[in-house]
Structure formats: structure tokens, C-alpha cells
């Protein structure tokens, strides 16, 4: 009896295991190399990681380069800028994405130099407009100046019919209800860039940071963009997120004041910002900029996220060097920037800047 019943216990187990093996033996239906369209010669696997703000852009670029080079696999782990830089410095990542430029505040630049054996390459790659979204009953359009925005998000302006808001929206029927500003409860590059904008505008006392300042009372937090999107279901709420997410979820966006006019977030308006910004690079390989948040130039949208790519000028392994070079060149190419713009809603880089970046990347060996 006993042996038979143990055997009977084994039979379904083995069947299940074989079944699982049989299924896993074949790959995903869309992963089988089609072999027809790809003509690229790159092959192998490269791994990078970093800022999660770039995640969608990276997904588009990875798809693009893999389609062109069927034998190449690119992995981008959206682990966060800090962990991305750490991974780059320790050699775990061949390239990295970061929302704040590599500097020597914590000795990261020096360590990166040691890892690369030369000044690391740092180029802007991903510029994305950040939309300020709102949900107020009976209000479809909202114009705000930077100071008022800072006042709202720091909790000083608490009612929708506050004179500061009414001043820029003379025609809107603003209700006498509470404003609930929504921020990100996680650490985020979008938030860091948004607070940078608020700080530059004045009326914002806090240090710009990816984490929402603990000292600000009130408001509401959301986990990730998705969290902010859910929060925006509430009436009287105002928040910020990638412009693409705002569009995707049909949220009304605020026009912010630039100079004398009010500008709606758009890829086009955002892409003009880099040209207006000052370079703060620490070496010839470093294209870091200080974003001109306070620009008054017409048609420029200054609430943007600027995210960088990190790479070494030289790699020990020639295949790695070719792959990183090929991938970064693709990202910075017109095609790459267009792809990201379509899929992730980012702003294509100004060609002048992109060409300069391509020059740096093209020297990778």
C-alpha cells in the first residue's frame, strides 16, 4: 500500500514538473528572433540601471535597438538614480541613468573616474515636461504663476478662491473649497525637478529634493505616478506628473506663467529649455546643465525633468564598448529621440545639443 500511495503522490507531481518544463522550454512567442528586419551587427548583453524617471524612455530605446540588432540584449534596471550611480561606480552597470548630475559632493565623481580610468561621459538624454494637473469642479482651465504654485504646494494658499489664484484666472468660477496638493510619497526625479522649479521661482523655502519635505504640513502623498493619478480622483486636488501620464489619464493641466504669457506643458515647449540653460560640466566629457527654471523666453516650458546618461570613455571589453556606444548613439540620434517622444512623451533633444553629445559618445572605445 504505502509504496503505491507514495508513488501515486509522485505521479501528479512529476506530471506537473514535466508540464512546467515543457512550457518553459519554449520561449515567449514574441521573443523568438524573427531574423528578417534586424540588420544591426551588435550582439551580446549590456546591463545598465538608474533613474526610474527614464524607465519609459529606456523601454522605448531598448525596444528600438533590439529590433535593429536581434542578437543584442539591453537591460535597464529602474532602481533609482542613487543606486544607478552606485552601480556604475562599482562596475555593476556599464551605463547608468541619473536625474541629478554626477558630482563630487560625496566623492562619486572621483570614484567614477577611478572606475572609468578617465573623466566619465555625462550627457543629457531624456527631457520630459512635468504637467501640473488639477481637479476642480467647474474649472477647465487654470493659469498660475510660479509663486502661486509654490504657495499652493507649500500649504500657504489653502482655498481655491484665494486672491492669488483669482488674479491670474479672472474668468474662472473658483469655488470656496480647500486645495489639496498632491506630491510623491516616494523619492522621485520628477519631484526633485519640480521642487527645483518651485525653489527657483521663489516662495519655496525648502531645499529641492526627490523626497517631499517633511516640514510641509497638509497635502497628500501618492506612491509613484500611479499613486498621484489615483489621488487626483478627489475634487479640489492639484498635483504634478509626467505630461504623458497627465495626457494618458485625461487630467486637466495648469498653464504656468513664463515671462508674460502662460504656457501649457508640451514636448515642443520643453525641448527648448536646454538651449537656454547654463552648462555646469566639470570636464570636457560632462554636459551637465543648470536648467533655466526662471527663463522668460517665449514658448519655453520650464517645468521639466532633465535626466542624464553616464558612460565611460573606454571599456576593457571591446564588445561592451561597441554595444554601449551603439546604444547611446541610438538614444541620442534623431530616431531614438523621436521614438521616446512617441512612446514616453518626452521632449526630443535640441539637435545642437544632441550632436554635441553624439560626438562625446562616438568617442567611446
Amino acid at each position: 500500500m504505502n509504496t503505491t500511495s507514495l508513488r501515486r503522490a509522485l505521479v501528479p507531481g512529476i506530471t506537473a514538473a514535466t508540464l512546467a518544463l515543457a512550457i518553459s522550454a519554449c520561449g515567449a512567442a514574441n521573443e523568438e528572433p524573427s531574423g528578417s528586419d534586424g540588420e544591426g551587427t551588435l550582439s551580446g548583453t549590456i546591463k545598465g540601471g538608474g533613474a526610474s524617471s527614464q524607465e519609459k524612455g529606456q523601454a522605448a530605446w531598448v525596444a528600438g535597438i533590439q529590433d535593429a540588432n536581434p542578437d543584442l540584449s539591453v537591460v535597464y534596471e529602474p532602481v533609482g538614480s542613487g543606486s544607478g550611480r552606485e552601480g556604475f561606480i562599482t562596475g555593476g552597470y556599464l551605463f547608468a541613468g541619473t536625474d541629478s548630475a554626477l558630482n563630487d559632493d560625496e566623492g562619486e565623481l572621483t570614484k567614477a573616474k577611478e572606475q572609468c580610468g578617465a573623466d566619465p561621459i555625462q550627457v543629457p538624454a531624456y527631457v520630459s515636461p512635468i504637467a501640473v494637473v488639477f481637479n476642480v469642479e467647474g474649472v477647465d482651465e487654470l493659469n498660475l504663476d510660479p509663486k502661486t504654485l509654490a504657495g499652493i504646494f507649500s500649504g500657504k494658499i489653502t482655498k481655491w478662491n484665494d486672491p492669488a489664484i483669482a488674479a491670474t484666472n479672472p474668468d474662472a468660477k473658483l469655488p470656496d473649497s480647500a486645495i489639496t496638493p498632491v506630491h510623491r510619497s516616494d523619492d522621485s526625479g520628477t519631484q526633485e525637478n519640480f521642487t527645483e522649479y518651485l525653489a527657483a521661482a521663489g516662495g519655496w523655502a525648502e531645499e529641492p529634493s526627490g523626497e517631499w519635505p517633511a516640514s510641509i504640513k497638509g497635502g497628500e502623498g501618492g506612491d509613484g505616478t500611479a499613486g498621484v493619478v489615483t489621488a487626483m480622483q478627489g475634487a479640489g486636488y492639484i498635483g504634478f506628473m509626467d505630461e504623458s501620464a497627465a495626457r494618458e489619464n485625461d487630467l486637466a493641466t495648469v498653464k504656468v506663467q513664463v515671462g508674460e504669457e502662460f504656457v501649457a506643458p508640451s514636448a515642443e515647449a520643453a525641448s527648448k529649455i536646454l538651449a537656454a540653460s547654463k552648462s555646469v560640466g566639470t570636464s570636457d566629457n560632462d554636459m551637465a546643465v543648470e536648467v533655466a527654471r526662471t527663463t522668460t523666453e517665449a514658448g519655453v516650458y520650464p517645468v521639466v525633468l532633465v535626466s542624464y546618461l553616464l558612460a565611460c570613455p573606454t571599456y576593457e571589453n571591446a564588445e561592451d564598448a561597441a554595444n554601449v556606444k551603439g546604444y547611446l548613439e541610438y538614444i541620442l540620434s534623431e530616431e531614438g529621440q523621436e521614438t521616446a517622444s512617441e512612446d514616453a512623451g518626452s521632449a526630443p533633444l535640441d539637435r545642437e545639443i544632441a550632436d554635441k553629445a553624439l560626438e562625446l559618445v562616438g568617442a567611446i572605445k
Binding site: 533613474a51 542613487g82 480647500a178 523626497e211 478627489g234
Partner: protein
């Protein structure tokens, strides 16, 4: 010893029976394996402490900017710990009466025909992933409860829980504790159900034979028998509620603070949710702070469980 074909043979003849056996290697080996497996559990728990310690202890004293604006590790972890406990207790308050009632329903009240499928469905729900609960809580239940929030804030504001500006989208600890309660309900229910079902029939029949109503039978025969089982069921539910991560992270609008208020836009943040939210975008220093809070959470649940065991054991000894 070989087996002779004829068991009827006179056993008295076989006088040279050998009593000293061929040793008990099998027993020694098998017992050894069992002991090793059991000891592995101790090793595993120790390893959890050790490895979280190695990676987390640096997090007790890093630069103050990494403590989410709270200045120090204690300043961060005390409110988090408070919120963890608070959310779990709220969930238990909602879940326990329902769980016990449903368990009773299945074991003693419902007709067999209903009880079996109900029990099955409840078991099934124990396995619904917490992301799905989170999704449902944030997208479906939260907005649905907005009027309830407003009502509570208008009518029950004399309670500190409801005293303040209500949330406009339901992403509150109030919603989260209901979702959390729904999540832990199946666990508590299934254990209670089992212990209720194990009440000796004799006790139940004895109670009925004395003329007890069904409720009196439950009260005097079932509950006393099941008490320690019920306590451990509640503890298991508490454990799950303390450690629940995704659902709370997805539903609640959190802030590191100590407050009783549960229907506003700033809700106390729990340790697990804090880790999950901080984990995605983090520097090595921040990561070690998060692992350190994880260590604290582990130590805390360890203590709570140990305390619960002790209470159960004392209850049994009496």
C-alpha cells in the same frame, strides 16, 4: 530474521531467537535529518537577524538627510512603528468580529450546502495577492467611501479619529484598514473555523442535552474549547496586518507622523509601506536606513508574536 512460510510453526522451537538487532542506522540517520531540518529553522531566523543587521546597522547613523526629514533614526522609526501598530489594530478591530462570526456561520450555523462553498471561497481569498487588494482599495473602494468620510467628519468629529478635514478621494487609513481587514479576514476565519469544527461533539451534545440554545452551546462548549486557537488566529492576522506592504502603500496617502486622525489626507505611514516606497529610488545610505527599519519591524513582530505565544501558553496552563 527471515519470514518463514508457515506462521503456524511452533514458535517455542525457535529458541535461538536473536534479540540484539542489526543496529538502528536507519533510525539514527532519519532522526538526524529531522533534527537538522528543525535546526535549520533556527539558523534561518538567526540569519535574518544577522544579514539584516550587517546591511542595516550602518543605517542607524548615517547623514541626517537620509531620515526622510526626521533628523535621526529614532525620529523616523518611532512614528513608523506607531503607525504600523495602529493600522494593524484598526484592521483587527474590524476583522475579528466578522471573522469569528463567519467561522461560526460555517461551522455551526449555515446549512452544509452553503457552508462548504463559502469555506472554499474564503480560503481562496486568502491567496488573492495584496497588489490586487491595493488596486481595488485605491481605485474602487476609496472613491466609494468618500461620502462616508465626509459623514464621519461631520457627525463623529468629537472622536479624535474623525476630527478634521476629510479626504476627497478616500486614500486614507480608514479605507486601508477596511481593506486590510478584508485581507486578514480569510486567515482568521479559516483557523477559527478549524478550531470550532474540532470542538468535541460530546461537549456540544452535552450542552444541548442540558437544554442550552444554540448560542449557549457555542458560548459554553465551543468558545472555551477554542479560545487558544482563536488567540493564535488573531495573532496570525495581526502578523499579516503588521507586515502588509503593497496594499497600504498603494492606498494610503502617507506621512511620517503620529496621529489618531484616520480620514484626512495625511495618514501615519507604516514601516513596510515606507520601505516599499523608499526602496525604488534610493542611494546606498538610504537603503541601509530602510533595511534598518526592516530590522526594527522584524524585531517588533518577533516581540509581538513572542508575547502572544506567552499569553496563549499562560492561558493553557491555567
Amino acid at each position: 530474521m527471515t519470514v518463514a512460510a508457515d506462521p503456524g510453526a511452533d514458535p517455542g522451537v525457535d529458541t535461538k531467537s536473536e534479540l540484539s538487532g542489526r543496529g538502528s542506522m536507519g533510525d539514527v540517520v532519519f532522526r538526524g535529518i529531522a533534527v537538522i531540518a528543525a535546526t535549520l529553522i533556527m539558523v534561518a531566523l538567526a540569519a535574518v537577524f544577522i544579514f539584516l543587521g550587517i546591511e542595516g546597522i550602518p543605517g542607524f547613523s548615517v547623514d541626517e538627510q537620509h531620515y526622510a526629514g526626521q533628523g535621526s533614526f529614532l525620529g523616523l522609526v518611532v512614528p513608523l512603528l506607531y503607525a504600523t501598530m495602529y493600522a494593524a489594530v484598526l484592521a483587527l478591530i474590524v476583522a475579528v468580529p466578522f471573522s469569528v462570526a463567519i467561522a461560526l456561520f460555517i461551522s455551526h450555523y449555515a446549512p452544509r450546502r452553503i457552508a462548504t462553498p463559502v469555506a472554499y471561497v474564503i480560503d481562496l481569498l486568502a491567496a488573492v495577492p495584496s497588489v490586487v487588494f491595493g488596486l481595488w482599495g485605491a481605485v474602487v473602494l476609496g472613491p466609494y467611501l468618500v461620502p462616508t468620510h465626509a459623514w464621519l467628519s461631520e457627525n463623529l468629529a468629537w472622536l479624535p479619529f474623525f476630527d478634521g478635514q476629510p479626504s476627497g478621494n478616500g486614500r486614507t487609513l480608514f479605507t486601508a484598514s477596511i481593506v486590510l481587514a478584508v485581507m486578514i479576514l480569510p486567515i482568521i476565519t479559516s483557523i477559527c473555523r478549524e478550531v470550532f469544527a474540532q470542538t468535541p461533539r460530546l461537549h456540544e451534545e452535552a450542552a444541548l442535552a442540558l437544554g442550552a440554545t444554540r448560542w449557549e452551546m457555542v458560548r459554553y462548549a465551543v468558545f472555551p474549547y477554542a479560545r487558544s486557537g482563536m488567540v493564535s488566529a488573531v495573532m496570525l492576522g495581526l502578523g499579516r496586518a503588521l507586515g502588509e506592504t503593497m496594499a497600504i502603500a498603494m492606498i494610503v496617502s502617507p506621512k511620517v507622523l503620529i496621529s489618531l486622525f484616520i480620514i484626512g489626507t495625511n495618514n501615519p505611514e507604516t514601516i513596510a509601506a515606507h520601505i516599499a516606497q523608499g526602496y525604488k529610488e534610493s542611494t546606498p545610505d538610504r537603503l541601509s536606513v530602510l533595511i534598518a527599519t526592516g530590522l526594527v519591524l522584524f524585531a517588533f513582530t518577533f516581540l509581538v508574536n513572542a508575547l502572544a505565544r506567552w499569553i496563549v501558553a499562560r492561558g493553557r496552563a491555567k
